[in-house]
């Protein structure tokens, strides 16, 4: 895998560089940016779900903490965006750390349920604390500026989003092949075994949780600046499920899968956008067909098919 990881990152990088050249218009670029920003959160969630095997359907809460953290800090305190981002990420990490300890003791669907609850609570707080968050109607967010340089051009955004995505992929790929990553993957399959080999399971899980929360906040913060507007729906149950779906559709524990899942599920609604009423039918159908024919998710299933083809 390691031998595989390095060139594959180069390929990813090359794709990122070539993409703007082949995309016909700014709208496509816009989609690419959205997909990339989302993918960062999904790559992070994959650390928790794919690596450590702890399914969360409340993860959008962290994306929202990132978005609202930045939004509120820049708007109400007038701090510079990057400082706001750092504070939001630190805040999310702290929240994640505090939540992780009790919640991650739960197993399987019980954990899923607890993360769902966490997400719902954050969502309700965002909806109800109108004075801070603007309530259900959301709030607008200032454009991203670094020093005095204001990022408004879509191309700048593309470069930023792509760079962040590649960085997060490198981190995730490295982790996969490291002792810490192995520990996470090991406890995913057998906590007893991992423990017997000296893995402090509770700590490993909460680290994965905190790390994935940080990825999510970074994604949320930048998205907020990019979109210029945030609303509580980003913390909603549906969005959480969407993120988890991206991980699974791409392929659990596969970093490239996470990215592909994010791209697919970001682009798909756009492709279906003009179908007037038939969007959900097709979306549901495509989701089902993907999982039926590629049950392990896009990347692992395709890798398996390719290796089989090669062998026979």
């Amino acid at each position: 895998m390691r031998q595989f990881a390095r060139p594959s990152i180069l390929v990813a990088l090359a794709i990122c560089i070539l993409l703007p050249l082949v995309l016909p218009n700014n709208f496509m670029l816009d989609i690419a940016i959205r997909a990339a920003l989302t993918a960062i959160a999904v790559v992070g969630l994959n650390l928790l779900m794919g690596f450590a095997g702890q399914v969360s359907i409340g993860h959008a809460a962290f994306v929202a903490i990132g978005s609202y953290g930045t939004g509120i800090i820049t708007a109400r305190l007038n701090w510079p965006p990057l400082v706001a981002l750092a504070v939001a990420a630190a805040g999310a990490a702290l929240v994640a750390y505090l939540v992780a300890k009790p919640i991650l003791r739960l197993k399987g669907h019980m954990l899923t349920m607890a993360t769902l609850g966490f997400g719902v609570i954050v969502n309700i707080a965002l909806v109800n604390e109108v004075a801070w968050t603007g309530g259900p109607d959301g709030m607008s967010v200032v454009p991203l500026s670094i020093g005095t340089f204001e990022l408004t051009s879509i191309m700048h955004w593309y470069v930023l989003a792509a760079a962040l995505l590649v960085l997060s992929m490198v981190l995730s790929l490295n982790l996969y092949e490291s002792p810490a990553g192995r520990a996470m993957r090991g406890l995913n399959s057998s906590e007893v075994a991992a423990r017997a080999m000296g893995v402090d399971v509770a700590t490993a899980k909460s680290r994965a949780f905190v790390a994935s929360a940080i990825f999510a906040t970074v994604s949320g913060s930048f998205s907020a600046h990019y979109l210029g507007f945030i609303s509580p729906s980003i913390s909603g149950f549906t969005h959480s499920v969407e993120l988890a779906t991206m991980v699974v559709v791409g392929g659990m524990a596969s970093t490239f899968g996470a990215v592909l899942g994010a791209i697919l599920l970001t682009v798909l609604p756009q492709l279906l956008g003009g179908l007037h009423g038939y969007e959900s039918v097709f979306f549901g159908l495509i989701l089902m067909l993907t999982m039926i024919f590629l049950p392990k998710g896009l990347v692992p299933s395709i890798a398996l098919l390719v290796s089989r083809r090669r062998r026979s």
Binding site: T112, M113, F118, I121, V192, V248, G277, Y278, V281, G284
Partner: protein, 290 residues
């Protein structure tokens, strides 16, 4: 005092609806370990198909039977066309399939039956009864009654029939189940069919109270999942307790604490319950040994 009994009755009614939604979850979970995200949509289908049949001029009993039959068929088809072809795969993949199915079903209903809100006539009229100082709709009693009957039936099924045991066996160890001669496909089809049926029944008795729209399943499914998990997921009685608890919490919190945070407070409490009872109210402890 009459406030309290009003809250309790209100909680019991919504709780019973949640419980019925939860019951279906446990059936599919018990046979496959899968959380069926389309469970809420079975309830929606029950209500929607009945009201659509009524609109077509069918008499109520016929409409109900039609709704039950069609929903059950959809449950079976969900297994046959989507779950089964996926083969031996991880539980999360199957859960994603049910999410896809849910989206699909809602989309199809929205196209075929529209996005309007529908309702069904109450079975025994709309005049509310006075019980212990509370105003109670006769339909609430229907919901509570049907819920009781179904949960008892489920409990009997799992405790006293070999078929019920076979359902559990398939979830516990698919390979071994096949090796002792259980047709796991048939069992799973049965569990999907039954839970769709229960969902439809629930949807029909609840519709006069909740009214129904094509996306009602989202909310009911979510609450049903919460209730089922709280109950321990593998126990029908647990699911019912979970449902009632969620319903009561919501009503009491709305009544006594804060109606703005009434959806959040139960979640906080539920998470605390799970921290004390990590397997839910009636969930079995893991028996895995090393």
């Amino acid at each position: 005092m009459s406030d309290l009994s009003q809250f309790v009755f209100s909680g019991l009614t919504t709780g019973s609806i949640y419980a019925l939604a939860a019951l279906g979850f446990t059936l599919i979970y018990n046979a496959s370990g899968v959380i069926n995200f389309a469970q809420g949509d079975f309830l929606m289908l029950g209500g929607m198909i009945t009201s659509a049949s009524l609109a077509m001029g069918l008499p109520m009993p016929v409409a109900i039977v039609a709704a039950l039959a069609i929903t059950t068929l959809i449950g079976v088809l969900l297994y046959q066309l989507a779950i089964r072809p996926a083969g031996e795969t991880s539980v999360v993949s199957l859960i994603i399939i049910t999410i896809g199915a849910s989206t699909f079903i809602q989309g199809a209903v929205q196209i075929l039956l529209g996005k309007n809100q529908f309702t069904l006539p109450s079975f025994s009229g709309d005049a509310s009864l006075q019980l212990l100082g509370a105003y109670v709709l006769p339909q609430s009693l229907w919901v509570i009654g049907v819920g009781t009957v179904l949960v008892v039936a489920c409990a009997l099924f799992f405790h006293f029939t070999l078929l019920g045991k076979a359902l559990l066996a398939v979830a516990a160890n698919r390979l071994a189940a096949q090796a002792v001669g259980i047709n796991s496909g048939r069992i799973l089809r049965l569990s999907f069919g039954l839970s769709a049926l229960i969902g439809a029944v629930a949807g029909i008795v609840a519709a006069p109270i909740t009214t129904t729209t094509y996306d009602l399943g989202l909310m009911l499914g979510l609450k049903g999942f919460v209730a089922a998990t709280l109950g321990g997921l593998n126990s029908g009685v647990g699911a019912v307790l979970g449902g009632l608890l969620v319903g009561l919490l919501e009503a009491l919190v709305a009544g006594y604490i804060s109606s703005a945070y009434k959806d959040a407070v139960p979640f906080v409490l539920i998470i605390f319950v799970l921290l004390v009872l990590p397997n839910g109210l009636l969930g079995a402890k893991s028996t895995e040994r090393v």
